[in-house]
Amino acid sequence: MNNEWLFVAFFIVIGALVPIAAISVAWLVSPKKSNPIKQSTYECGIETVGESWVQFKAQYYIFALVFLVFDVETVFLFPWAVKIGQLGLFAVVEGIIFIGILIAGLVYTWRKGMLEWS
C-alpha cells in the first residue's frame, strides 16, 4: 500500500505512545499513598459547594455557532485559493463575492449585538 497517510498514521500512533510511555513510567516509580484529603477537589482550600458539572453560559454556544459557519466557509475557500493563480480574474471575483456574502453575515451578527460578551 503506497499511501502517504500510512506515514501520518505512524506519527499519530507513536505520538500517542510516547506520552503513554512517559505517564506509565511515572506511574511505576511514583509513590501511591492516596487519601480522601488528597483526592478532594482543589478550590484554593475552600470546601467545594455542589457539583462542578453545572450549567454554563449561552454565550459560549453562540460563539461556537458563529465559528462553525466561518470555519465551513474558509474550508470551502481552500480549493479556490489553490487554483486561483491559473484561472484569472473571473475566479478571483467569484471568490470575492463568496467572501462578501459572509462578511454580510458577520456584519448582521455584529449589528444584532451577538458578538458582545456580556
Partner: protein
C-alpha cells in the same frame, strides 16, 4: 561521496539493503524504515522539548532581570533533567470525582496533537516527513485535537476552575482559528498549493515582504492558538489558579507543559515556514541537507523567541476585549486582506517582480494604515463615552 551529500537517504538505502537481504519484500522494508524514521524524529523532538524547558526558563529570567536556572551543570543545562526526575517520582493524585478515562486520555491527546504536526514539516528539501497536498488543513486538524484535549481535561477534572478555564480557552481557540485559517489562505493564494514543501519552494521572495500584515496577523492568531499570554485566558493564574490543568500533577501535568512548549516552538517554525522561507537561506539549503535543517531550527528558534518576547512583555487582555479584538478587528481585516491579496495577485502576476512586490507591499501598508486609523477613532470615541459616563456618575 554519496554518503556526504545526503546521509539520511544513504542510511535509509543501506538499511533497506540489509532488510531486503534478510528476505523481506521491498515494500515491507520501506514501511519498517518509515516507522523507524518516525520513531527517531519523535525521540529527537522529545529531546528538543527538554532543551526548550531550559531555553524558556533562561529567556524569561533575562526578561525579568534575573539569572534563571544556573546551579546544575554549565548555565543550568542539567536543570530540565532534574525537573523530569522530579515529575517522575511525584505522586500522581487524581481528584475523587474525576472521570478516570477522560482524565487520563487528555494529556496524551494534548501531546499527540503537537507531535503529529511534525509529520508535515519539511526540515530540508529532501528531508520531508510526508508532503501532504492538504498540509495547511492538516495543521488546523491537529489543532482541533488539541482543542478537544483541553475541553476533556477541563470537564473530567470535576473542578469549577478547570471547567471555566477550559471553556474560556476553547472559546478563544475556536475564535482565533478563523483569522488564522483566513491568513493561511494567503500563502496558498501566492504559491498555488497547500503543501508545505511547495509553499517553501515558491518563496524565492519571502512572503513576509509580499504580505507583512498577514505575517503579523498570523503571529497574533498563533499566540492565541497557543493559549499564551497575552491571550492566556485559560490559565489566568490570579483568577483561575491554573485553568484547565489545575488538577493534574506529576507526569500528566508534565505532558501538558511539554506539549505547550513544543507547540510554541512548532508555531515559531510555521511562522518561519509560511512567511520567512522555511529552510531557505540564500541557497544555503542546497549545499547540504543538515545545513537546511540548521537554518529551519534557527528560524523556528527566532519565531519562538518572538512569541516569548510578546508573552513576557504584555499583560493579559480581558476576555471580552480578546473576543472583540478577534471578531470585530482581526476577522474582517483578514478577510479584506485576503480579497485584496487575491485581486492584486491576479492583476500583477504577469508584470515584473519589482512591480509585483511593490504592489503587494503598498496594498498591505494601505490596509494596515486604514484599519489602525479606524480602530483608533472607534476606541477613542468609546473611551470618551466611558469617561463621560464616569464623570456623570461622580457628579
Amino acid at each position: 561521496m554519496e554518503f556526504w551529500k545526503d546521509p539520511l537517504k544513504a542510511a535509509a538505502d543501506w538499511l533497506a539493503g540489509i532488510l531486503v537481504g534478510w528476505g523481506l519484500a521491498s515494500q515491507v522494508s520501506q514501511v519498517i524504515i518509515a516507522f523507524l524514521g518516525v520513531l527517531i524524529l519523535i525521540s529527537l523532538l522529545m529531546v528538543l522539548d527538554i532543551f526548550l524547558v531550559w531555553v524558556e526558563r533562561k529567556t524569561v529570567a533575562r526578561f525579568q532581570d534575573r539569572l534563571g536556572p544556573n546551579r546544575l551543570g554549565p548555565f543550568g543545562l542539567i536543570q530540565p533533567f532534574a525537573d523530569i526526575i522530579k515529575l517522575l517520582i511525584k505522586e500522581d493524585t487524581t481528584p475523587g470525582g474525576a472521570d478516570k478515562w477522560v482524565y487520563n486520555l487528555a494529556p496524551v491527546l494534548s501531546m499527540m496533537s503537537v507531535l503529529m504536526i511534525w509529520a508535515i514539516i519539511p526540515l530540508a528539501p529532501t528531508v520531508v516527513g510526508v508532503d501532504l497536498n492538504v498540509g495547511i488543513l492538516y495543521l488546523i486538524a491537529a489543532g482541533a485535537i488539541g482543542t478537544l484535549s483541553i475541553i476533556m481535561a477541563g470537564w473530567s477534572s470535576n473542578n469549577k476552575f478547570a471547567m471555566i478555564g477550559a471553556f474560556r480557552e476553547v472559546a478563544i481557540l475556536v475564535s482565533f482559528e478563523i483569522p488564522m485559517l483566513t491568513i493561511l489562505l494567503i500563502p496558498t493564494v501566492l504559491s498555488g498549493t497547500m503543501g508545505i514543501n511547495g509553499i517553501i519552494e515558491s518563496q524565492s521572495l519571502w512572503y513576509v515582504f509580499l504580505s507583512p500584515l498577514g505575517a503579523l496577523i498570523f503571529l497574533i492568531a498563533a499566540i492565541a492558538e497557543l493559549g499564551r499570554a497575552p491571550f492566556d485566558m485559560g490559565e489566568a493564574e490570579s483568577e483561575l489558579v491554573a485553568g484547565y490543568n489545575i488538577e493534574y500533577s506529576g507526569m500528566k501535568f508534565g505532558m501538558f507543559y511539554a506539549g505547550e512548549l513544543l507547540h510554541a516552538f512548532t508555531f515559531g517554525g510555521f511562522w518561519a515556514i509560511f512567511f520567512f522561507g522555511g529552510y531557505r537561506f540564500f541557497g544555503l539549503e542546497k549545499v547540504h541537507p543538515f545545513l537546511a535543517v540548521a537554518v529551519l531550527i534557527f528560524k523556528a528558534m527566532l519565531g519562538y523567541w518572538v512569541i516569548m518576547w510578546v508573552k513576557y512583555t504584555l499583560m493579559r487582555i480581558r476576555i471580552d476585549h480578546m473576543l472583540a479584538l478577534n471578531w470585530k478587528f482581526l476577522t474582517p481585516l483578514a478577510f479584506i486582506l485576503l480579497m485584496a491579496t487575491a485581486l492584486t495577485n491576479a492583476i500583477l502576476k504577469n508584470s515584473s517582480i519589482l512591480i509585483y512586490w511593490a504592489g503587494m507591499f503598498i496594498v498591505n501598508i494601505i490596509i494596515a494604515f486604514v484599519a489602525l486609523e479606524i480602530a483608533r477613532r472607534v476606541s477613542t470615541a468609546q473611551r470618551a463615552r466611558l469617561e463621560g459616563r464616569k464623570g456623570a456618575a461622580a457628579a
